[in-house]
Symmetry: C2
DNA sequence: AACAAAAATGACAGCGCTGTCAATTAATTA
DNA sequence: TAATTAATTGACAGCGCTGTCATTTTTGTT
């Protein structure tokens, strides 16, 4: 053990310094750190793991639906891992397979990590929840709809974000604002619609039923909803869609009707997915705090002090781009 | 060691069976596997790693530009890892930071894995290549432009894919085909344009210069290119754009000009990114074999037999959707 | 049947660190 | 000043497996 010899202390003291244990004098701590730097010493993860029964790994389990979301979760989670000498393992799962429980059982059973982050929508999968309940590994679900008992979880406030976007349009001078709903079976849909209605009510603005259209979080449903709203007897000056794909569809419908965005119509989306900055003009939207959510989820696994059960709400951002303007 | 006792063999024989070593009789192998199954035995990764100086981990280093691409690389890589009892660690890097070499040096130096997959465009970053040249860890770059010496790499054939898409449009009866170029500083751009020209030449079709427009792989540049081409004296019956974003922009330009897709104009893209199936009608496009590339890269690291230097070409697919039709 | 070669199995040291407890040193209290 | 308590350091067994080499068993050849 070169570092111990170089610093003139025992191997155990080197271990204490490397693990930031308190019971080391400042003098000794400096000697060890200096020796470690000189020798480019990095503790051996396998040895640490074998001796301490820790893997120094956190796993992220995710399904495929939204690559941008998942990548940003990874970004936040790896950031937290780096602060603690941990690494993030990824495990893509396919819940569209017929025998999903069988596929997942082996994988989760063999998974030997110190914690698990469950991305949506995997976090609502009954088979996964059941397997994890039997496994002695702490996990953190992200934006779950399902009930996870006392387990802490990470989420954003959809209703509040929708309120803020609607208020933003109102502050731009819009009083006639349409809304494209989300997929009827996703919990975020009703929250976002609720936020829109609350903001309209708070501003004493009436909602024209001709300007509320059903949607399914898809571009195609956005095109249809946009056409329905823009072909009503009277047109709104702004449309707020429940996500970016359907907002892009509304923009396409407007273009097809010779309506200029944002000159004749302001369009706002939700999520800040890739399409929000791909289309032209780029979408004003709500950015989900995905990186923060990934970071927080990992932190909840890595820092065991002061962890309270229940929701950890991450702060979204309103991203103003070229698809909205004042009237 | 319960498994050894249960099977009536030594611990070393259990190890041989678990590692699929050849020098075990079939009878003994069965006894051990049976005992392992009964006891739900999983070898301890830390112990294996400490004793064998392997980590049973592969790292994927990636930058952020294309989430869908990265997620699909991960899917393929984790598939290969699972076949070999390995796990995939992810390490997002930010090469837009000023002192990128400094940020990366510590991370790569401390990275203790059995192999590294380098996603584009990180695989062309000089600082990263330099650091890895000094590190005794095998790595596989994916779709590199930079020269990596004798190191095997994984790639697709852009020119051939573009030839096939152009031929597909020709087989649909299109003889007047426009083309939107890619970003002038990306190596794929010239290859895709080359493929288009080769297919046109092979079919003895002339290329109208009014139907070749510059692009930058963006939706916005696609809108502009689409307008330029569709406002020419004579219109083509199909436009092939160098990627899906610019193809979506061409579609928006067509809609604004009252041109119906695919009835009046067929539009084809390249990449099969998320936007290809988000827009309406969904894009006919070339699907990059990204999952296969991730799988192959990991396999090249995990299976040491028969690895030849040089390129491993993965087979793309032509994905026919609603944006093209016969004339 | 005897011998040689190949295949299969087992013994054991040790990989690099941590948990546990003992020993030593320093600080506090009476 | 002596006794007690707290802080610091070190000794050491052992975590669960693999590499190396010795031993045993099986197979092939003469």
């Amino acid at each position: 053990m070169d570092v111990a010899r170089r610093a003139g202390v025992s191997m155990k003291t080197v271990s204490r310094v490397m693990n930031n244990e308190p019971s080391v004098s400042d003098t000794t701590r400096e000697k060890v750190n200096h020796a470690a730097l000189e020798l480019n010493y990095t503790p051996n993860r396998a040895a640490r793991g074998l001796a301490s029964s820790k893997s120094f790994l956190i796993a992220m389990l995710y399904d495929i639906p939204s690559p941008g979301y998942t990548i940003n979760l990874q970004k936040g989670a790896t950031e937290a891992c780096r602060e603690h000498g941990y690494h993030l393992i990824v495990e893509p799962l396919d819940t569209n397979v017929e025998d999903v429980a069988k596929e997942i059982t082996g994988l989760i059973t063999r998974l030997s990590v110190d914690g698990i982050i469950l991305a949506p929508p995997i976090c609502d999968n009954a088979a996964v929840i059941q397997l994890l309940a039997k496994k002695n590994t702490p996990y953190i679900p992200i934006a779950p709809s399902a009930n996870h008992g006392d387990i802490p979880y990470v989420v954003m406030d959809d209703a509040r974000a929708a309120r803020e976007m609607t208020k933003h349009l109102i502050d731009l001078g819009h009083t006639e604002i349409g809304f494209v709903k989300g997929h009827p079976r996703h919990s975020a849909s009703s929250l976002r619609f609720q936020g829109y209605r609350e903001a309209m009510r708070a501003a004493d603005l009436t909602i024209n039923p001709d300007w509320i259209a059903d949607g399914e979080f898809t571009y195609k449903s956005g095109v249809e909803a946009g056409k329905a709203i823009l072909n009503a007897k009277k047109r709104p000056s702004a449309i707020f869609a429940s996500n970016d794909d359907s907002a892009a569809g509304v923009m396409a419908a407007a273009a097809a009707l010779g309506i200029s965005v944002p000159t004749d119509l302001s369009v706002a989306g939700f999520d800040d997915t890739t399409i929000a900055s791909s289309v032209w003009p780029p979408l004003t939207t709500i950015r989900q705090p995905v990186v923060d959510m990934g970071y927080k989820a990992a932190k909840l696994l890595l820092v065991k002090d002061d962890v309270e059960p229940g929701k950890n709400i991450m702060q979204h951002a309103l991203i103003e781009r070229g698809s909205t303007q004042a009237v």
